[in-house]
Symmetry: C2
Subunit: 248 residues, 2 copies
DNA sequence: TAATTTATATTTGTATGACAAATTAACTTT
DNA sequence: AAAGTTAATTTGTCATACAAATATAAATTA
């Protein structure tokens, strides 16, 4: 008996379409801000129904690869992906990874310490005037006593992102983004009181000064101090959380 | 005139549904391997049509958060995401980031050098017998002269992953995974010849011995040597590539 | 009886057609 | 000329039907 079978297709049509489109984007045949054909047109070309096309497009939208707008000049467009645009994507991955693997805070703190030390050293070497200005701006936001705890958290994140970018190593920035995003939920467990805000801000001020002076040693010292301080706050928050749960 | 308007909803229904489900997964109310209600049931609960529910599910499927199977015992299930399961997700993000941002190889090499040095130091401290055995196994795979260049590349990746995991810092492993995945396409530009394979393998042997001896200094030295060696190969490959393009 | 085959029910996958909503361009009216 | 109106285009949503896969139970056969 001769055996000449067609290749078995296990993945769904919408997945196959999504993969082809993604490939086109990665390959470069679909460049940033290019407009895809309309859904009807795509369904004709791929010989599948519009709902199937739509499912495929939603897959890509979930990855932030495309965006859609209604209307005559609307349609579906290829996104230009920078670090910011990818952070959504990374947040999911990193947050899930941290929450589902029960990674200890000490592991996170250790990794962050080392990575951020590296960022600071490079920032001391390569920081430009623009970097310094941005750091000052972010610091000013933190000094506002009227902002909510959530806003303070986000200002803190922005400050550390700015440090990462001051390193002028985009690969390192990318990795640091992942780490910062992964830490965000943990950071939100803490509600910074005024006294704690003051301490954080003072650390940031010294850090900024060290980067301005291109003093690597001091910069690394301050980072170490802050990571340790945050770790102690985290432990406290965790204990409070545990006590609260016991009462329920 | 009093102003009491309903909140404006800009995102589509399918996105809202997807976000709610994702939140449930992240929050923990939907645990790994839990089965979601059927699509019909979901469409009743969310008060939207089934195609809309499906678009939402495809969004989550694109993020590898869920999987679906047909049939009576089928349905949609929550994925248990470990490091391996996330690599697909990361590969997209990291590859896109590297390719669309034209990150220089020196930036990548520098970041990798620092991160992998850190891995090695921790591996020296915390490596177990199982870690050593795994490293030996991976090394054995590389020694096989019959494997293809692609297989050699993948064996190399596995070796470096094993080092990352020997650090026993899961956060660092996760970050290192991202970096390794991002580098994969670049690594594939090179076709390792026998002489180059020998050099790589010898470096790996010395690295393994250093980790076995818990000799941090030597381990870091070898890593530095290898990263520099790979950088030179990359430069060569890039030049060849450029020459080839000129001829076309 | 035991193994195999056949129905059957369940659930996701796909197709078709229609209408709603948003948005721009052209047109009309004042 | 400015403002409002209409029409056209494109994504967003809905309803319904059927196809395909797959496990369970019933029926058939050796």
């Amino acid at each position: 008996m001769s055996l000449e079978v067609e290749p078995i297709i296990r993945s769904s049509l919408s997945k196959q379409v999504a993969d082809q489109l993604q490939e086109a984007i990665l390959e470069g045949s679909l460049k940033a801000d290019d407009r895809l054909p309309t859904e009807e047109e795509l369904s004709k070309r791929f010989q599948v129904s519009r709902p199937t096309i739509r499912e495929a497009l939603k897959r890509l939208a979930a990855k932030n690869l495309i965006r859609s707008r209604r209307g005559p000049t609307g349609g579906t467009f290829v996104n230009h992906l920078g670090a910011d645009e990818l952070s959504d994507h990374l947040t999911t991955a990193a947050t899930l990874f941290v929450s589902m693997n029960q990674i200890s805070l000490s592991e996170i703190a250790h990794t962050r310490l080392e990575l951020e030390s590296l960022c600071c050293q490079l920032a001391c070497q390569h920081r430009t005037d623009e970097d310094l200005t941005r750091l000052e701006t972010e610091l000013e936001r933190q000094r506002d006593i009227n902002i909510s705890p959530e806003e303070f958290c986000s200002a803190d994140v922005s400050f550390h992102r700015a440090i990462a970018e001051a390193s002028h190593n985009r690969m390192l920035s990318f990795v640091m983004y992942t780490l910062i995003e992964a830490l965000q939920p943990v950071a939100n467990m803490i509600t910074f009181h005024f006294r704690e805000r003051d301490i954080i801000i003072s650390q940031h001020e010294r850090l900024l000064q060290a980067i301005r002076d291109q003093n690597r040693v001091t910069a690394v010292e301050v980072i170490k101090e802050q990571v340790n301080y945050l770790s102690s706050l985290h432990d406290e928050a965790r204990e409070n959380h545990a006590r609260k749960q016991q009462r329920d």
